[in-house]
Symmetry: C2
Amino acid sequence: MPSRVEERAKTAGRVAPLSSRTKILEVAEARFARSGFGGVGLRDVAVAAGLSKSTLFHHFSTKEALYVEVIGRVLERVAERVEPAFACGAPPAERLLRVSDALVDAFAEHPTTAPLLLRSLFEALPQLEVDAAQQEGAISVLQRLIGHFQDLVREGIAARAFREVSVPDTTQTIIGAAVFHFASGELGEQQFGDVSLFSAEAVARRRREQRSFFQRALLFDPAL
Amino acid sequence: MPSRVEERAKTAGRVAPLSSRTKILEVAEARFARSGFGGVGLRDVAVAAGLSKSTLFHHFSTKEALYVEVIGRVLERVAERVEPAFACGAPPAERLLRVSDALVDAFAEHPTTAPLLLRSLFEALPQLEVDAAQQEGAISVLQRLIGHFQDLVREGIAARAFREVSVPDTTQTIIGAAVFHFASGELGEQQFGDVSLFSAEAVARRRREQRSFFQRALLFDPAL
DNA sequence: GTCTATACTACGATAGAC
DNA sequence: GTCTATCGTAGTATAGAC
């Protein structure tokens, strides 16, 4: 849900004078990506956003609510990039390549996206008892995305375009391989000789490498 | 470093009456795997280990020291499983399969291994200013492992057994795919219909799937 | 919506008795 | 090696003025 505040900012200002709310969300996103839920203090978030702690609590009733909203935004961003690729109507073999590229583009867009998606995939929260509404909103986006992957693999197998792989295993492998690369941070960059993973050349190369990796791994006839 | 205490326990008792130290390490490992560095309180660790906070501090001077030692143990366990596969002397194509299996076995051994390895790979610590000795000990194990992967890929390419892939990209892809599967926890199990990822059948299937995935993706002639 | 001030709890860490 | 007691800080969250 985009919330009235953001919409107003979009329609009103030209340089989009970030509302305090979105400023908080951006700062929190960077912090959560780096240190996880428990590693972030709201005082730090507030001052980095140029506000007081109390103001933060005016906008987000609890820390968990803030976290869930941060994760929700990230998932929406990813879905926005990736779902068109799933829906492109091309045959499975080509759709796989489009999805692979869309994943790379989604993660290359913001350095925080991959770490936060990864966290939402494997990290246990101190039982998020947040308002079930938006929490399940975020979770349902995730479920939907995973469902798209599974459907694609199933379709590919049914069409005899893909080998007869295990659908859940393959889904896990694809997601893990794609998200880890852009979540690996310093350690990843060090492997590439300290060149940013997010430079134009690095992203272009990652697209090529990931396409061919998935293509060869899944397709019966990888000569595309 | 195995520490005198553990060695004594090994040589002395038959049922290995866990020293407090190792008990703390085990409890902490489970907590850190689930919630990350910042999400764990030492009070909780101590009482779960049947001890007081002060006793914990008697064994580990700081929280970071405890964390680094937990990570170090995990890395050693992984290295113990995986390095023999790298050193097996078989040609690259077959070595790749052995390494793939060894990775699955390493992660299947303890459910905490993959999450903690993943964390150590992508999570930023509040600058670990721990005694450079053991910290670099842990880091050097990681570097060594990554080096093994890179060497294997390079060798495979040189021997014309592997396609001409990007060495760092491929290393990232392999590690990400392998570790994510066993780190995905509830969400992963849900994809498999709520069957444990660590059951004998699930592990056997994962070995097969991952072998064929890597094999097809990398080898010129995947007809093994 | 933003602030100051505050409540209360938990945190990491230390002192010192046993 | 283990404990109780305590320190100081920072944690999340609230009350209430502006």
